[in-house]
């Protein structure tokens, strides 16, 4: 596995914001070592007491690493069990919608968000001198380790982060398929016909489970939409239709009701991995990996003469 992306901190708590952000740009290129210095100088010595997270992926990492008393707010999506693995744990915590005004009124001393979306909001918060930490989207499971380590540092919870990392690495090692046996075709046919490519977090999880993706078969790199016709021709060994997103109704899952899809699904083993398990990279991604790995073993056992 390659080294994880260097994690950039492009923010500062003082008028040095502009200078520091250019430092961190250099640091991004120079590597992790330089970056650590930049990040230490950017944040005050005392641990942050009013942490606000604005992104459902960072919500879940912050929740696992920071003490609850220090979390001022998580994003409202963190409370949606369809997308968040911690929805049932967070209780009565304040939820934000990632709007600058709302975040300001919480008087945060550290804002955590994903390096994805909220660009104007992040720019405003930075200009006003708030400390904003952006975590990159996990492109593979090992990126999660880097994000945990980085958060442990800025949240000043090194021991909790270490414990989490240790457990994550152990489980990752245990669940990753290392053999060179068959790799049955797993197709997730999500709303609007989206399916996994050759790279990205989902593909990494599928590969580690000893399965192959639609992208591996059809030769596309990132996630892509496939038609019902293509799904039929793929003849998957294992299918996940994803969350139907039909309540309230939308056309997104119309394909799932197509007679041809139903005909195929009658004869194909199915699996249901909750979106919350693999939408974001985090400790909960291991649940998706475990589920898929189990399904793979069952598939391989059940086929005396595998088709693949």
């Amino acid at each position: 596995m390659d080294a994880a992306d260097p994690i950039a901190i492009r923010g500062a708590s003082t008028a040095r914001a502009a200078r520091l952000s250019s430092i961190s740009m250099v640091a991004r290129i120079a590597g992790v070592a330089l970056l650590a210095t930049a990040s230490l100088s950017a944040f005050a010595a005392s641990p942050p007491q009013r942490i606000v997270s604005m992104n459902v992926c960072t919500d879940q990492l912050v929740w696992r690493i920071a003490r609850r008393s220090r979390i001022a707010s998580l994003s409202f999506i963190a409370a949606d069990p369809r997308t968040s693995a911690i929805a049932h744990e967070i209780g009565e915590l304040h939820l934000n919608h990632g709007i600058a005004e709302e975040v300001l009124s919480l008087n945060p001393d550290l804002i955590v968000t994903g390096a994805f979306g909220f660009r104007p909001t992040v720019a405003v918060l930075r200009r006003l001198g708030y400390a904003v930490v952006e975590l990159p989207m996990a492109e593979q499971l090992t990126d999660v380790i880097a994000s945990i380590a980085h958060l442990g540092e800025v949240l000043q919870e090194p021991s909790r982060a270490e414990a989490l990392t240790r457990h994550f690495e152990q489980e990752l090692g245990r669940l990753t398929y290392g053999g060179d046996g068959p790799r049955p075709l797993f197709v997730n046919y999500d709303a609007n016909g989206w399916t996994t490519g050759q790279t990205g977090l989902l593909a990494d999880i599928v590969h580690r489970a000893g399965l192959s993706t639609s992208g591996d078969r059809l030769g596309f790199e990132s996630s892509n939409r496939i038609s019902v016709e293509t799904l039929l021709l793929l003849a998957p060994d294992l299918v996940d239709l994803g969350y139907a997103w039909d309540d309230p109704p939308a056309l997104a899952s119309e394909q799932h009701r197509h007679p041809a899809v139903r005909a195929v699904l009658q004869h194909t083993p199915k699996i249901d991995i909750p979106d919350s398990a693999w939408l974001c990279g985090g400790p909960h991604s291991l649940d998706a990996l475990e589920q898929l790995r189990g399904a793979r073993e069952a598939l391989v056992e059940s086929r005396q003469e595998p088709r693949w």
Binding site: A191, N192, G193, N224, R225, I226, S227, V228, E229, T230, L232, L233, A235, W245, D246, D247, P248, P249, A250, L251, A252, E254, Q255, R257, H258, P259, A260, A263, V264
Partner: protein, 333 residues
């Protein structure tokens, strides 16, 4: 620009074009299944992946393309004849957008999941309202008033569609604005066909009955009345026929523009400007055009499939420009 085409040979030519486009529609798809395999499936009659693709994916798509294309062009031809306005077309005067709004309300409130018939019915009801509003304006004012009112209805319904979809708590709904405003018949099934077919047949029949009276009307309203044409009957034939066929089509495919505008304009000189001849010719021409556009959608490689409305506009608009610049005289049948 009138060429000496005999009417039967024109219809034969258009039928041939439609058949060819229909065959292409069955043959073209991402899987690259060839003619040989398809014929083998037809012979063996067994259920396989190829037969599923042919019967459940490509056939409904080709049939829908035929019906929807014919409905749009037929309504365009009859609206142009009845309103005596060359720009009257379901897309431009807002009937299509109104239908889409009706369909959107049926789907996103969850009604159509419980009662599938509400999907075409809501679309038809909405398009009926749009046609009625337009006609009341058309009688009051000049042809420009009609088009302006149509543009207003069209924009309003488009905006309301976007609003309804944005208000839906389903995160995917807002992405579907594109489908409703630009149209597509990808991955539709026989269910959709059965849902729209009865309304389409009724709509076509009503429009067919309007053919003769439209001939008389082309001589002027007063002449038509003196020839014994019942104007209010004609009005209802065109109104209900358009609402039924366009509403049913749009409920399944979203808004597809320009077919109803371009096809009648292309064919009008070839049928000697006679509405009763223009209607059948337009139906065939519309089917051929939409089927061709739907094949192009599959052939032109893009990240995700192009929308039908994009292709019909790309084909239709240059033709239309050509026609407009060539004929400086007002062509009204």
């Amino acid at each position: 620009m009138v060429r000496a085409w005999s009417y039967p040979s024109l219809l034969a030519g258009l039928s041939l074009a439609t058949l060819l486009a229909f065959a292409c529609s069955l043959l073209v798809g991402p899987s690259g299944i060839g003619l040989g395999e398809l014929i083998a499936v037809l012979r063996s009659g067994e259920t396989s992946t190829v037969s599923l693709i042919l019967w459940e994916i490509r056939l409904p798509r080709a049939l829908l393309g035929t019906l929807i294309g014919a409905s749009l062009a037929l309504s365009g031809a009859s609206l142009q004849g009845y309103l005596r306005n060359p720009l009257a077309e379901p897309g431009i005067i807002g009937v299509s957008n109104a239908s889409a709004l009706g369909a959107v309300i049926a789907i996103y409130t969850g009604l159509s999941l419980r009662y599938p018939l509400t999907l075409p019915l809501f679309a038809i009801a909405a398009s009926l309202i749009a046609v009625l509003i337009l006609q009341s304006l058309a009688h009051a004012g000049r042809s420009l008033t009609l088009i302006l009112a149509g543009v207003a209805i069209s924009s309003l319904c488009g905006a309301l569609t976007s609003l309804a979809l944005s208000l839906s708590p389903n995160p995917f709904a807002s992405l579907e604005i594109v489908f409703w405003l630009l149209g597509s018949i990808t991955d539709r099934s026989m269910t959709h066909l059965w849902l729209m077919l009865p309304f389409t047949v009724v709509g076509w029949s009503l429009l067919a009955l309007s053919a003769r009276p439209l001939d008389a009307l082309s001589l002027g309203a007063e002449t038509a009345i003196s020839l014994g044409i019942d104007m209010s009957r004609l009005r209802w034939l065109v109104t209900l026929g358009t609402a039924g066929s366009v509403g049913a089509a749009t409920a399944v495919s979203g808004v597809i523009g320009f077919v109803g505008l371009v096809v009648p304009h292309l064919l009008r000189p070839l049928v000697g400007y006679q509405p009763s001849r223009l209607l059948p010719a337009s139906a065939l021409g519309g089917a051929a055009l939409l089927l061709t556009a739907d094949v192009l959608v599959r052939v032109i490689a893009t990240q995700s499939e192009l929308r039908l409305g994009v292709v019909t506009a790309l084909i239709g608009v240059p033709f239309f420009f050509y026609l407009v610049t060539r004929s400086k005289t007002a062509y009204i049948s």
